[in-house]
């Protein structure tokens, strides 16, 4: 089994297959699994996300062309 729990059964019916980009069952199950992780519940501290993105932005802002 691809997923560590029964996320496939919890995957929401997104109704997105009638038109638009088709989302696979395994992808929808993965989304449900991610949403249900303890660190993705209300009140979770996401300071690290902002810090990591800012660090990346500053890093690439310093890039200079060398040739």
């Amino acid at each position: 089994m691809l997923f560590p729990d029964d996320s496939a059964a919890q995957a929401p019916d997104l109704g997105v297959n009638e038109s638009g980009f088709r989302l696979s069952e395994s992808y929808l199950a993965a989304i449900a699994w991610i949403e249900n992780l303890p660190q993705n519940q209300n009140g979770s501290d996401k300071t690290w996300v902002e810090e990591a993105i800012e660090e990346s932005r500053l890093h690439f802002a310093k890039a200079v062309r060398v040739s």
Binding site: L14, N40, Q41, D45, V49, A52
Partner: protein, 169 residues
């Protein structure tokens, strides 16, 4: 304080309603820095309410951001009349500090109404500021509906990242 956090804090103080959507919203669900997606824009989904839009604009101004719509600066004065016109057209407003903080203030999220997204939002915390973020499933479904090349690229890359993550867990 980080520039976006200052804006978020001002929006909370003004009791303006907004939800982070798009790639930036999806990033809040990442498990590690290696699975973050780079994006310049931050998308805030707002209800189609002139009063709320005006609160958001005022907060942006307080945060030192310049407002524009299309390629033009937002008209003056920013007031109820202007907000009603923008809401009537479902127009996008953009806010920028000109130094890397670019925020899209959108009244449209493909496939969803504001209340549905708002009611299911997650409230994450960055430092001591609460950030309302759309459900990842809503962000992904909206991108699927929008089906632009950049949406397809995100979905394919995101699906692959999740597959690797889960297989490695």
């Amino acid at each position: 304080m980080d520039r976006f956090l200052r804006l978020a804090a001002l929006l909370q103080e003004a009791k303006a309603r907004f939800v982070v959507i798009g790639v930036w919203g999806a990033n809040y669900y990442a498990k590690s820095a290696s699975t973050l997606f780079t994006t310049q824009d931050r998308d805030l989904f707002l209800p189609s309410e002139p009063g709320n839009l005006l609160l958001v604009w005022q907060s942006c101004r307080l945060a030192g951001l310049a407002l524009s719509t299309g390629d033009e600066p937002l008209g003056e004065p920013i007031d109820d009349f202007l907000a009603e016109r923008v809401v009537g057209r479902r127009a996008l407003t953009q806010a920028t500090d000109g130094r890397g903080l670019d925020v899209d203030l959108t009244l449209v999220m493909e496939g969803f109404g504001f209340e549905e997204v708002w009611n299911d939002r997650r409230l994450f915390r960055v430092e001591d500021v609460e950030i309302p973020v759309a459900r990842l499933s809503h962000i992904v479904a909206s991108k699927s509906k929008a089906n632009r090349p950049k949406d397809r690229l995100f979905l394919e890359t995101h699906a692959e990242a999740l597959r690797r993550l889960i297989e490695g867990s």
